[in-house]
Amino acid sequence: MIVAVDEAAERLGLHAGLALAQARAMHPALEAIAEDAEADAGLLEKIADWCLRYTPLVALDAPDGLTLDIGGCAHLYGGEQQLVADLGARIAQAGFAYTIAIAGTIGAARAAAHFGAPGSYTGGEERGLLAPLPLSALRLAPGTVAALARVGLKRVGDIVDLPRSPLTARFGGELLRQLDRALGLEHEPLNPRLPVAPYVAEQRFAEPIAREEDVLAILTRLAGRLQFALERRGDGARRLELTLFRTDGEVRRIAAGCSRPLRDPAQIRALFVERLAALADAFDPGFGFDMARLSVLVAEPSPPEQIGIGGGENAAEADRQVDQLADRLSARLGSRRVRRLIAQDSHIPEIAAANMPAQAALAAADAGWPAFRQFRAEAGLAPRPLRLLQRPEPIEAVAEVPDGPPLRFRWRRALHEVIAAEGPERIEGAWWSEHGGHPSGNLARDYFRVEDKSGLRFWLFRSGLYRDLMREDLAQGAAAPTWFLHGTFA
């Protein structure tokens, strides 16, 4: 089902509600992008957060609208018109199409914005504004709108003067409630997306700031302002949020909690230093921030005793300690130098373990090795060497045809007499991959574990099968199997 179309698609006569298969049948070259309602909602929320720069009272009007209560804020911008101009310019700059309407009621403003009557309306103009608009301009369930249309009532003006009781009896109380709210006959509270913080301090900058030090300096200054307010009521902050408004419209929100209520700007600063460090690359100023706000989200009166951070001596803790070690080593030696072998889900030995930067690997580490061990145990497979050669090294070997182990082989010029062998473990290439998965090509391999006279143990394989060599359709270009040494056992 098509949920939205761009202009080009609209010109082709496609519209929301059409089945995708049908649309594709009409225009086979159609490009369709799967609907991601979550992402859409997320984007709307981001825009809502960005609008917090104008007023703390921003409500979502999903799926594509926002309601801002600008009562008492507009003067900061030099009046409503200027605020609209600023908001519009910035939204357009971010690449969005928009309509903005200001009215005395949420319902009227929304109706005007959605149904093509942008502008600014003062109280009392609602009736004239709404009358020619379709009933869907009132926030009504689609079923109600359809039901009204079926009895011939299609515009707000059609119902505004009708006797109220028959309407309510037929279409429910919501119809007139929305009408009254839009007309300002009934008060409607705004339901902001974010709770309004008890303590807020904010600052705008004429010149955007980008450096971390500058941000921390501003933070300290804002914390200083909050300290005053907190002390006055005997509160401390348990949860803080630093909101940074980027010039391009991105909004960064960095929350920090502490176990003990804080007021001291230095302590608050220290808290955020840690948080910022943890975010590392996530702190991306772009072209800089032009506004910062520090909010206390949770405040508490009396400071309790600090509780120590303890931890059980369990495996999870041990893992965490390894991770912490990796963090510290990476910090000191550089993150590319500290590496870990991470188990990969593959039969092919050189792919079965990936050598990755330890920090990057943290997320991938999870169940790789236990799953690997479990698989080999259940299948009764022999152990592999702990480390493999950088790449398999060709050897000369004498072996029994077609799948016997080597009797002797020469590796790095030394001749080894095999006295014991186990195998083969046959591993074929990844037929779906361009290179067959094996760097050496898509040939099947027969792996053997062998021991030579001197007690050295090797892992080697025959590359290519006699089975394939004997087949007419593959024989062309196929060479006789060759041998490689892939690793040694300690």
């Binding site: 009895v151 009764g380 083969p424 046959r426």
Partner: protein
């Protein structure tokens, strides 16, 4: 060296096995194995196919059907093989027990189940667990073996040595297996893809879920001996086990139920008696000698083959249906025998229609007779329940249908396994009327590069997986009835519906084993005919049955010759309507031909035109030889029926009837690559030997080949033709009753109610809207004007033929979204006419929502209420709060309270609804409008655009350029028409037929597929009174409908036969999925593969494949 592979999984181990059973059998024979044991996971669904492959190709193999038991309680897998028939019965009961415990497609087995059914089974345990082995050995002494496999896992020899120890310790023999999952190592990619589908992952991510290597394929005895050189006894054990197993599926043959009838010594006596009793009824003036001879001959054959119980079974079911006044009609080769006519199974009088009955059971073919019985679709369930009641669930069950991967589903699944995005897969698999044969174009449209290695892999694997079974489902009406317990013949499993069980084998399997099956199918037309006959009886006092409808009524043929066939069985399609005026059927046998000729087979075999030319006398009727004249004289020398093809093979090429039957089966399904080639040689050589010219012989064969896969037997055509005649007679004489019956039998046929109603009105029938005070649930007849007086000009020729003098009152069933139960309560409480919406509500207690439905459908007009007024009133009912479903309070003062509420309400004047909007609403809530046609409101605009009314087409000269317009009612692109799109459009004056050639289609594709209202510019083409407009240009005028009302552009006027709304591509693919044709198709779609196909593709074409069974035509 000798070896049998006992652990063989076919692709009936769904998403695990990667070879068809037939491929495994053929490869086993090729490798020189002594035999094979087929055992799928908790299933024997594939064993019959393997059995058939062995029998048909005479493979020198021992074959042991069995199963791999996979337990739900953690017990390691065990292979089981029945020693004998009794053991087989226990195996199937064991599997049944597991099946019935699980959901559909699930088999939950416990070790205890095996222990309870272990007698007569030979076991191969997969695990060396000593406790398990000793338990098994205690339960089945001497019948337990321990499996050993050498699958290149690195420590195979050590493992084998350990297993030897275990086997010795537990005193069970060791047996070599290779745990085969495919017949050839080249199937590894397919096996990997299947694993991805199974594990819902992609090939890149699957990792260790895939096999490390391709060793689980069939290996030669020498190779197995080499691998097991440390334990040669394990190889020998396979031969010993094979010697223990004496069971063959052939032992299941002829499990006919005992049909003993009191007073008769045996079934044959009873049948003979019933047949002659029936004959006396059929021919009151005495049995014609020809028929008597036929009956005698058939009865003798039946006696010889002991088929009497089968006929008695069918007779009994038909007798039951008759007793319940359920209309039914037999079909199939045996159905049109004289015996069946006498028994009342069919109504095709062997004396009236001189039919060929070559396919009627013959002693050479050890195959059960084939009788399908169609019943009224609405009442089929009663028949099914009767069968269950009579035979019990222990002896009767429903056959399975093997659901296979097909073009779309295979590309979808393979694409997913390769990690293609949902969108790309969607584009690949859902394109309606894509490429037109060029698969590369479809790939390119989906944004894929057809030349890339990966895309070629996907396409190749998708082709390979096509035809693989994906799950078993329940057949629509195939019943299997057995003499002994059904679950001792085959396993039974749960269906998707509760209390529905079905057996594991499909109809082909049952057929092959000679197990009695009877198709109990639902046919909408039978319901329609029965309803029409009832209406004629009730309103005109004429009591008719299928058999007593006046035969050979010339008015009926006159009507059909004018292509006036909307609603008539089988000949109502666009293609048939084009054919009727050309063929001009004038007797019953012409209808038989009419039914058979408009089929893909004759069309592709290019038999239609020769036949038409000969029929019109434009071409001389010649026969290649005297013998063939006898075969082909009825069809003017052009073979049209399957029976004729067989007869040609017998008469001209010296086939035995048994060989001819093989040819028929090869033709019917083309299941096996290569088979048809050998038939070709045999046939052509045979004809040459009999003195026919090579050229003629080849043409004959190609003709047979041409309609082979769509072959339509004359016996089916005859049964169908009877229904064609019956429905046409009703339409011709009583269009009122016929239209009402058609509406009441919906959904069926090609057309939607709007077209049926339009046709009825054009035939002079007054049609009245559904109304709460006048309508029943069904459409009914009311006294009305004489139809003959009101005929549309088009049909004035039938003025004297019509007997209809009733108006049709549309039933409440035409109201969208109204349930039968609610409608019936409106009817039931209507002792006195309703006087208000509120009155209806208070009397019926229906929810206000239902009354709104009625109001939307304008069903209160007899109360003097407009649609909006009725809706306004309905909206006010019982709504205290916002709840929609408050019910009225019944009680003594309910009426008074209601009156009070009403009187208190102020008046509200609603704006009146414009006529255009009324029409749009009619379409929205009734799917049709009796008021006006939407085109009427657009005439001004249409005139400005220079479009004519469709009726103006009649009388225009060929090739005149015109512009017409209309609501789109149907779009079809028949597979046999090489990409040509047929559109049907209608305006207020007439229906018009439009042809869009592929070149034009590509240009106007969005309009053809998307528009509801179109203007068509093109040329007029008239032949035999059939007028087409060949489109040059199409214009989408849907938006004009928006002027009628907001929802005007959503007017739905599509017929049921519209292929854009209901794509039938899958079905078509099913037809095309026959071996040779599949290759052709493949080459057409992937031209780059032609080179590959010259050489045998390794692993894929090594063994011929059996594909999805083609549905019956």
């Amino acid at each position: 060296m000798h070896y049998l592979e006992f652990a063989t999984a076919s692709n009936f181990s769904f998403l695990r096995g990667a070879s068809h059973p037939e491929e495994l059998m053929a490869q086993a024979a090729r490798l020189g194995l002594a035999g094979i044991g087929l055992c799928d996971r908790n299933s024997v669904a594939g064993v019959v196919r393997a059995h058939l492959a062995k029998c048909e190709q005479n493979l020198p193999l021992k074959y042991h059907p069995g199963a791999r038991l996979v337990f739900a309680d953690g017990t390691p897998d065990i292979f089981v093989f029945p020693r004998d028939r009794a053991g087989w019965g226990r195996l199937t009961r064991l599997l049944t027990a597991g099946n019935l415990r699980g959901k559909k497609g699930e088999c939950l087995l416990h070790l205890d189940d095996l222990l309870a059914h272990i007698f007569g089974l030979e076991l191969i345990a997969m695990s060396g667990n000593a406790t398990l082995l000793s338990r098994l050995r205690a339960a089945a002494p001497g019948r337990v073996r321990l499996a050993a496999s050498m699958l290149y896992r690195g420590r195979d020899r050590a493992r084998l040595a350990r297993l030897k120890e275990t086997a010795r310790g537990c005193q069970v023999p060791l047996i070599a297996i290779n745990d085969v999952h495919f017949h050839h190592p080249d199937r590894r990619p397919l096996a990997d893809v299947l694993a991805c589908i199974r594990e819902k992952t992609t090939i890149e991510r699957a990792g260790r879920k895939l096999s490390a290597n391709a060793e689980r394929h069939l290996k030669s005895p020498d190779e197995m001996a080499r691998l097991f050189r440390d334990a040669p006894e394990a190889i020998e054990e396979t031969l010993r086990l094979s010697d223990e197993l004496t069971f063959s599926l052939d032992e299941l043959r002829y499990e006919y139920p005992d049909e003993t009838i009191d007073g008769f010594a045996n079934a044959q006596d009873a049948l003979t008696h019933l047949a002659y009793q029936g004959a006396a009824r059929r021919y009151p003036s005495g049995l014609p000698p020809k028929v008597r001879a036929t009956v005698e001959h058939e009865l003798a054959l039946i006696a010889q083959l002991q088929y009497a119980p089968y006929f008695l079974t069918v007779h009994d079911i038909v007798r039951f249906a008759r007793s319940q006044k359920i209309l039914c009609q037999g079909r199939g080769s045996a159905a049109n025998s004289a015996v069946c006519f006498c028994l009342g199974i069919t109504e095709v009088d062997p004396d009236r229609a001189d039919l060929l009955f070559e396919r009627f059971i013959s002693p050479e073919r050890r195959e059960p007779p084939d009788i399908d019985v169609d019943f009224e679709h609405g009442r089929r369930e009663e028949v099914i329940q009767y069968i269950y009641g009579k035979y019990g669930r222990e002896r009767a069950g429903i056959a399975a249908t093997v659901i296979c991967y097909r073009g779309r589903s295979s590309i979808r699944e393979v694409g997913k396994a390769f990690g293609l995005s949902e969108d790309t897969i969607g584009a690949l698999s859902s394109s309606i009327w894509g490429g037109g044969g060029d698969g590369n174009a479809d790939l390119a449209r989906a944004g894929l590069d057809p030349d890339s290695r990966r895309v070629r892999q996907i396409a190749a694997l998708a082709r390979e997986i096509a035809g693989f079974p994906r799950h078993l489902s329940q057949h629509v009406g195939g019943f299997v009835i057995t003499r002994s317990r059904l679950d001792e013949v085959m396993p039974i499993g749960n269906g998707a519906m509760p209390d529905r069980t079905f057996v594991e084998w499909d109809k082909d399997d049952l057929d092959a084993l000679g197990i009695l099956k009877i198709d109990v199918l639902g046919l909408g037309m039978l319901s329609c005919i029965r309803k029409a006959l009832d209406l004629v009886d009730h309103h005109y006092g004429e009591r008719l049955t299928l058999a007593t409808i006046p035969a050979e009524d010339s008015a009926v043929y006159r009507m059909l010759q004018r292509a006036d066939s909307l609603g008539v069985f089988q000949v109502e399609s666009r293609a048939q309507m084009t054919m009727l005026p050309r063929l001009k059927p004038a007797n019953f046998y012409d209808l038989v031909i009419e039914v058979a000729i408009v089929r893909p087979g004759p069309i592709q075999g290019d038999m239609v035109h020769p036949y038409l030319r000969r029929r019109r006398g434009q071409e001389q009727v010649t026969y290649p030889s005297k013998e063939l004249e006898a075969v082909l004289s009825k069809t003017l020398g052009v073979p049209l029926f399957q029976e004729q093809a067989m007869k040609i093979a017998i008469v001209a090429a010296g086939f035995t009837p048994a060989e001819a039957d093989k040819l028929r089966r090869a033709m019917a399904t083309f299941k096996r690559v290569g088979t048809i080639g050998s038939f070709q040689r045999k046939m052509i050589d045979g004809m040459l030997a009999n003195g026919y010219a090579r050229d003629f012989a080849e043409r004959c064969f190609h003709q047979i080949e041409g309609f082979g896969e769509y072959g339509f037997p004359e016996s089916h055509a005859a049964s169908f033709a009877l229904l064609v005649y019956a429905s046409a007679w009703l339409k011709c004489r009583y269009p009122d009753a016929f239209a009402a019956a058609l509406l009441n039998a919906q959904p069926m046929g090609f057309y939607a109610p709007a077209q049926i109603v339009r046709d009825a009105r054009e035939h002079g029938v007054a049609v009245r809207p559904p109304d709460v005070n006048h309508s029943q649930w069904d459409s009914t007849l009311e006294p009305g004007p004489c139809a003959a007086e009101r005929l549309h000009d088009l049909h004035r020729a039938m003025r004297d033929d019509l007997r209809a003098n009733h108006a049709m009152r549309l039933g409440l069933r035409e109201i969208k979204g109204l349930s039968e139960e609610d409608a019936k309560s409106v009817v039931a409480r209507r002792d006195v006419s309703y006087d208000s919406v509120r009155d209806v509500w208070l009397r019926t207690g229906l929810s206000p929502r239902v009354l709104e439905r009625l109001a939307d459908a304008d069903a209160f007009s007899s109360l003097g209420l407009t649609r909006r007024e009725a809706l306004w009133a309905a909206k006010a009912l019982g709504r205290v709060g916002d709840s929609d479903d408050d019910l009225p309070l019944f009680g003594s003062n309910a009426g008074a309270a209601a009156a009070r509420t009403v009187s208190r309400e102020p008046d509200v004047a609603l704006p009146p609804m414009p006529l255009g909007e009324e029409v749009v609403n009619d379409y929205r809530f009734l799917r049709l409008s009796l008021r006006a046609h939407p085109a009427q409101f657009l005439r001004g605009d249409l005139g400005q655009r220079g479009t004519l009314r469709n009726e103006a087409l009649r009388g225009l000269a060929n090739n005149t350029r015109v512009k017409i317009s209309g609501l789109v009612t149907c779009r079809q692109r028949p597979g046999s028409a090489k990409g040509v799109v047929f559109m049907t459009i209608e305006d207020e004056s007439a229906v018009a037929n439009v042809i869009v050639w592929p070149k034009v289609f590509e240009r106007v594709r969005p309009v053809v597929l998307g528009a509801r209202y179109v203007a068509v510019a093109g040329r007029v083409q008239e032949e035999s009174g059939v007028i087409h407009v060949i489109a040059d240009q199409l214009e989408d005028l849907t938006l004009l409908l928006g002027r009628l009302a907001e929802q005007g552009a959503d007017i739905d006027s599509l017929a049921r036969a519209d292929e854009v709304r209901r794509p039938i591509e899958d079905q078509r693919e099913a037809y095309a999925l026959g071996g040779r044709n599949r290759l052709l198709r493949l080459m057409r779609e992937m031209p780059e593969l032609i080179g590959d196909l010259d050489v045998t593709a390794p692993g894929s074409a090594h063994a011929p494949t059996r594909h999805a069974t083609s549905p019956r035509v």
